[in-house]
């Protein structure tokens, strides 16, 4: 069973006859290299003509024979017979080979049992399977994304708890010393505990807005002390830990997202994302074989029918667009530009609304009671209202623009993403304006402490409270919509056989809008994690609740969307949008670390000029050699060679990618040529056999 070196694209077939007669297989088995995937086309009986040898059996032996039997397209009885033969040949192989093979086999069994144990731990896998079977891959990818975010938030919380929360609790209970320093008395004036008699319902209001008893707690930045413990064998610097944990948390999230994008991107790049082959792909690969249930399959059929119709319609639209006269084209483009401006105008109006609401809310922050709660939540209400109304209007605008259906979907999504993320940015910008008096640190209110200490004695806690309120409000709105809109809608549609009710129809589970809501929620958490360390934990709980609520509404109230989201490219798209949110949060974090002066009345950074300045301070406490080493890494003699090396590596990968692309094109051309060769040969064979028959006839006639 020796293997010969092989040039790519050619198939080499060896004849290899076996002495034993297999049940049902009288032909000789043909061995061929695993790399040539195509089976012999001249045999009408596809089954019995191929089996593949282990490629590196003589060289490495790590892909043992059993693996290759499984991947061959033979009937089971033949496979078992082949396996028997291969097992009988084992004594011929050297002892080292057989030891290796046994090793790989036990390793494989261990891996499979390990996988079984791990699948026990993977959350919600049965539920996700059920969702995928009944509603398709697009909806399932939403729930997979949600699960990913739950795990990410939980691990982040463990990180923060381990490095910041637990040491703080320990040091506080031990009453470790707090570093004091001098500073303007007014700046250090911070009284978060409620004075006097606190009414019972105030506790509930405080829970919802993060004020009162909740403000001076481990939930917010203001409670943490700048304890720096230094024993003989143990030293712990809380401010430094706080800073590094926050930075590491961001880096960790980035790595997780990119790792997950890697797998999704591979699929997108491999298939090229081209629209060539649309029809054939729909016909042959669109039916989900895992689809269960009668209703789901009918829907799947309608979906496929719809997709084919959409494609046919897109073709006709393209033809019509090409047939437009010059004047009509000009009118259409003018209309599109105008509608684009209108949608921009709507979005900017939403931003102004959020800006005004935030300013007003901060103005009225002294209000008590229910009205006070309403004013506190005004920014959240404005953002949610904007995120609801503006996409609706943009949908109407899209009808006028008359893009192709696929372009319409992409444009709508981009607008929504822009709206959501930038509205959060507007909120943060408004807060910044008020905290730093419009950036002018020499203005009257900010001159003393470099931030507005009268309105914001502890501004980090206030920012944390805003993010906390946004998260909570998001969850409450989801529950409210579920209870007040979706369940009644389903009951109305099911029990009231009115034409209007039927036209409205059951709720559709729109994947894109739900994913954007998740991305928004996660961005809020990232922005607020520096100021509200327990926010990842709250978010984990929120997302777990959201999973169950969305599942309930999916199964009871929704019908699957007719316009589906491609599940493979959609995962990649979700992660790209998440990355945008991460970018926004990083900008906020870097700015707060480096530019704004931390509050002097609270928090672990109270006596530093900026949060980052603790790093240089602790740097000089390190040992001399460590300092030298770190200086060296930051110096030019290290970074310039590193930069040059990374350029070289990048050029290598770019060259590799272009070579792969070229070889793919070459192989495709070779496939075409081989097909034509085959046709030519078949024609030759036919003409030769015809001539042969004619000769025989004439010879026979002569005799």
């Amino acid at each position: 069973m020796a293997s010969e070196p092989q040039s790519p694209g050619l198939r080499e077939v060896y004849d290899y006859t076996e002495g034993n007669g297999y049940p049902g297989d009288q032909q000789s088995l043909r061995l061929r290299r695993v790399s040539s995937r195509v089976s012999n086309q001249n045999h009408p009986q596809f089954d019995c003509s191929s089996t593949s040898t282990p490629e590196e059996e003589d060289e490495e032996g790590d892909s043992g024979p059993p693996r290759d039997i499984r991947a061959t397209a033979l009937p089971m009885a033949v496979k078992r017979a082949v396996r028997q033969v291969q097992q009988m040949q084992v004594p011929v192989v050297s002892r080292r080979e057989s030891w290796k093979r046994k090793n790989t086999k036990t390793l494989r069994k261990l891996k499979e049992s390990g996988r079984g144990v791990l699948s026990f731990f993977s959350l919600w896998s049965k539920t996700l399977q059920k969702i995928g079977g009944n509603f398709g891959g697009g909806v399932q990818s939403f729930f997979l994304f949600l699960r990913f975010l739950v795990v990410l938030n939980f691990v982040s919380f463990l990180l923060i708890a381990g490095f910041v929360l637990i040491p703080s609790i320990v040091f506080r209970s031990v009453e470790a010393s707090v570093v004091n320093s001098t500073g303007p008395e007014e700046c250090m004036d911070y009284e978060p505990n409620p004075q006097g008699l606190v009414l019972f319902y105030n506790y509930f209001l405080d829970l919802l807005s993060g004020t009162g008893f909740m403000e001076y707690s481990y939930l917010f930045y203001g409670y943490y002390n700048n304890t720096m413990v230094e024993d003989s064998k143990f030293s712990y610097n809380i401010p430094l830990a706080y800073l590094f944990t926050a930075v590491f948390y961001f880096i960790f999230c980035l790595i997780c997202i990119i790792a997950r994008m890697g797998t999704a991107a591979r699929v997108v790049v491999a298939t090229g994302g081209s629209t060539v082959g649309e029809y054939s792909m729909i016909v042959f690969t669109s039916w989900d074989y895992g689809c269960l249930g009668d209703g789901a399959t009918k829907l799947k059929q309608k979906n496929i029918h719809y997709r084919l119709q959409v494609d046919l319609e897109e073709e006709s639209i393209k033809k019509r667009a090409a047939a437009l006269s010059m004047a009509q084209k000009v009118v259409l483009y003018f209309l599109r530009v105008f509608m684009c401006l209108v949608s921009f105008g709507l979005i900017i109006a939403a931003f102004y609304g959020i800006f005004a609401a935030t300013e007003f809310s901060q103005l009225k922050s002294e209000q008590k009671g229910i009205l006070g709660l309403f004013f506190e939540y005004l920014p959240s209400i404005a953002i949610t209202a904007g995120n609801f109304v503006v996409p609706l209007l943009c949908d109407q605008i899209a009808l006028v623009e008359r893009y192709a259906p696929s372009t319409t979907v992409i444009v709508a999504l981009l607008r929504s993403v822009f709206l959501r993320l930038v509205s959060l940015g507007v909120l943060l910008f408004t807060l910044w304006r008020q905290i730093t008096c419009d950036g002018a640190t020499n203005s009257e209110e900010c001159k003393l402490c470099q931030y507005n200490h009268k309105v914001y004695p502890c501004w980090e806690t206030r920012v944390g409270q805003e993010m906390y309120k946004l998260t909570l409000f998001d969850l409450l709105i989801n529950i409210a919509v579920l209870v007040l809109v979706e369940f009644p809608r389903r009951m109305v549609v099911d029990n009231w056989s009115n034409k209007l009710a039927q036209w409205v129809g059951r709720q559709e589970f729109v994947v894109a809008a739900n994913v954007l809501a998740l991305v928004y929620g996660q961005t809020v958490v990232w922005t607020g994690a520096l100021f509200c360390p327990l926010l990842p934990l709250i978010n984990t709980i929120k997302f777990i609740l959201l999973f169950y609520f969305k599942k309930i509404t999916l199964f009871y109230n929704c019908r699957p969307a007719l316009k589906t989201f491609r599940s493979s490219t959609s995962t990649f798209f979700f992660l790209v949008v998440l990355l945008f949110g991460w970018g926004l949060a990083t900008v906020v974090m870097i700015y707060s670390l480096a530019q704004i002066r931390p509050s002097m009345g609270c928090g672990p950074f109270r006596f530093f000029s900026s949060m980052w300045s603790i790093v240089p301070m602790s740097f000089y406490n390190l040992s001399h050699t460590t300092q030298e080493f770190l200086f060296f890494i930051g110096s030019q003699s290290f970074s310039i060679p590193l930069f040059a090396l990374s350029c070289v590596v990048m050029c290598y990968f770019i060259a590799l990618a272009s070579v792969y692309g070229k070889s793919v094109a070459l192989l495709r051309r070779q496939l075409k040529l081989e097909g034509r060769d085959k046709q030519f040969l078949v024609k030759q064979i036919e003409s030769l056999s015809q001539r042969h028959q004619i000769l025989r006839h004439t010879a026979g006639a002569h005799n």
């Binding site: 045999h43 499979e112 298939t271 060539v276 042959f284 039916w287 074989y289 689809c291 269960l292 495709r668």
Partner: protein
């Protein structure tokens, strides 16, 4: 590895494990499902390799296959006699080829066989029309069906013989991102 089961000998289970993508537990579970289809026909004891075949009509009542428009073709492809009567070997083989860990090449080979209705190793226009009709349950008009079939063959046919050979099919499927996840029956 310690359960006392008398359905298969250890040697048989090893053979099944090596020839399919299933573990011991899954193979025993599959046997349970197979027996469920025809309890009077299928014996509990398979140690002496009985030659029992469950007919097509019973196999397609399985919930995993019931709603699939290609259920008859799937069962026929994996049956040895070509008429859809599956022995246990064929039954396990079928679900192994369609399971999650089955490689792309294997799935492509079997997908091609399933869609090749007249079994001539080519997907001709007629095969395609039948595939499309099964897929959309006759909701497209005949002109639309012809149009879609013509366009599909135009897109996928590389050697210009107006039918799809295996290499054309394989090339087209390799560009489809959803093929692996769609061509998957969960059992």
């Amino acid at each position: 590895m310690g359960n006392k089961q008398t359905t298969f000998t250890d040697e048989q289970l090893e053979a099944f494990q090596d020839c399919t993508f299933f573990t011991r537990k899954e193979i025993l579970r599959l046997h349970g499902r197979y027996r469920e289809l025809a309890p009077h026909l299928v014996p509990l004891d398979y140690t002496n390799n009985p030659d029992i075949k469950v007919p097509l009509a019973l196999i397609v009542t399985m919930p995993e296959l019931k709603e699939n428009p290609f259920r008859d073709r799937i069962v026929e492809t994996f049956s040895e006699d070509g008429h859809g009567n599956l022995s246990f070997n064929d039954f396990v083989d079928m679900f192994s080829a369609l399971c999650e860990t089955s490689p792309r090449e294997l799935k492509t080979i079997y997908a091609f066989k399933i869609y090749d209705f007249n079994r001539d190793s080519f997907i001709c226009k007629d095969d395609m029309k039948r595939t499309l009709n099964k897929l959309t349950k006759g909701e497209l008009t005949p002109e639309e069906v012809t149009l879609v079939c013509d366009k599909s063959i135009e897109e996928a046919d590389l050697d210009g013989d107006s039918k799809l050979s295996f290499s054309d099919f394989e090339n087209m499927v390799s560009k489809a991102p959803d093929f692996l996840s769609n061509f998957h029956v969960r059992i």
